[in-house]
Symmetry: C2
Subunit: 231 residues, 2 copies
DNA sequence: GCAAAAGTGTTTCAGGTACACCCATGG
DNA sequence: CCATGGGTGTACCTGAAACACTTTTGC
């Protein structure tokens, strides 16, 4: 109707990128979420998801890496994959003013973590109270993890690593879906995952005896920080 | 590590909201996508998805309504539901500078459109070339529609209206999934959709004869612009 | 009554779930 | 050789797909 109607608005919203950094801990047999105490107010000292403000022209994945390296102290090389989850637009979610929050997931390879373990890693099954609306973000995104496991190869490979055993796959599945599948059925599920192969190897040395589990491997994938995101 | 590390960046990215406005046309038996010629450069005159810059503190859904009313000339009351799709962060997607694009869907009730049909409605099966990266946005979001149909009640009810026939349900399903289900099977699918009920009524007057299809209705839902989005 | 289009019931098949059984290891 | 735990094969069950058949309309 009004032909002079224009795109321009005086002030634009700030965009923050909040990361749900996931890491599988084989020893604890749990999937951990990276959280860090906030350095400044608001919520100074409280635990929160690592997040940064998105810079002008910055890619979401780059901002996510910045958040994970800066706030969690995780080396960039330890981040195996990054992907998109959802966007939260509640204007009052940040007391400093309206801020859009784009939630991303990132998977961390515990093998590539440098020594000192600065950040707090909370078990996904027992996440402490977090600053801002991060509790809600975690709650809303948890079912999205469940959907991605075994369906999104980048996510799954990022979480489990290039090589893993059936036992570890069982643990991860239990952590993300809530119940532990029968090993036989999970094996068949994994057979249907493109790019995933059984190897002839068996992992030795289980803590308490038992048959050594099969080793699975992703086939060609060059790897690096991969994601099949719209960008 | 560096305790003085700060959230603040000098300049923040602009956020645009681009809307995939869907409308079911019972006569054409097709699902249409709302597109409009751009008023200004860049891409002046080219067709594009309706989009606006997100104002400071503005909700995504409000921006989407602003886009649909302003760019498509659709009355706000005709928008039956709004929801989130994905975020696109390619920095070069807008020649004017880096802009984040949050893609939303909106459903439009053709019955509540005011007379003059300003906007172009393109069949989802035959979308013309669009400005910016909107071709890619449409391509990426199309499978998301398929997932939402019969699973997201807000989306489904928004698209089909409060009351619809089996024949219309068949048309919509075919438009969104690519193939037409057997009427019997679709009926059973709809029986499993929460809130959806068969009525005793039959629609009369088919164009070319044939048995009059059943009428389906959503039960209590107050309606209005509904969405079950994280916000 | 013939064509068109929905609705009903039934068959079939694939997928997932459950489980009984076998195998390999530590003690 | 026993406990532990993964692997193999198989039975079962649910849910979706396909189709024959019936019902209701327009011409």
């Amino acid at each position: 109707m009004n032909p002079a109607q224009d795109d321009q608005r005086i002030e634009s919203t700030l965009v923050s990128v909040d990361v749900l950094a996931l890491r599988f801990a084989p020893d604890a047999r749990a999937v951990l979420l990276g959280v860090a105490p906030r350095a400044h107010d608001p919520f100074g000292g409280d635990l929160a998801l690592p997040g940064v403000l998105l810079g002008r022209g910055e890619r979401l994945r780059d901002a996510a890496l910045r958040a994970v390296t800066g706030k969690l102290g995780v080396a960039a090389e330890a981040v195996t994959a990054v992907g998109q989850l959802a966007t939260f637009d509640e204007p009052s979610r940040d007391p400093r003013g309206p801020t859009l929050s784009v939630a991303l997931w990132a998977t961390v390879d515990p093998g590539r973590l440098d020594g000192r373990d600065g950040p707090t890693w909370a078990s996904l099954g027992d996440v402490p109270a977090l600053a801002f609306d991060h509790d809600r973000i975690v709650a809303d995104c948890r079912p999205l993890f469940r959907d991605r496991l075994w369906r999104d190869p980048a996510f799954t490979a990022g979480l489990l690593g290039a090589e893993f055993t059936t036992a570890q796959a069982l643990d991860v599945t239990e952590a993300l879906t809530g119940d532990r599948p029968y090993p036989a059925n999970l094996g068949r599920t994994m057979d249907r995952v493109p790019g995933l192969r059984r190897t002839a190897q068996h992992a030795s040395a289980l803590p308490k005896g038992g048959r050594p589990p099969l080793v699975w491997r992703w086939d060609p994938v060059p790897s690096g920080v991969t994601t099949r995101d719209r960008s």
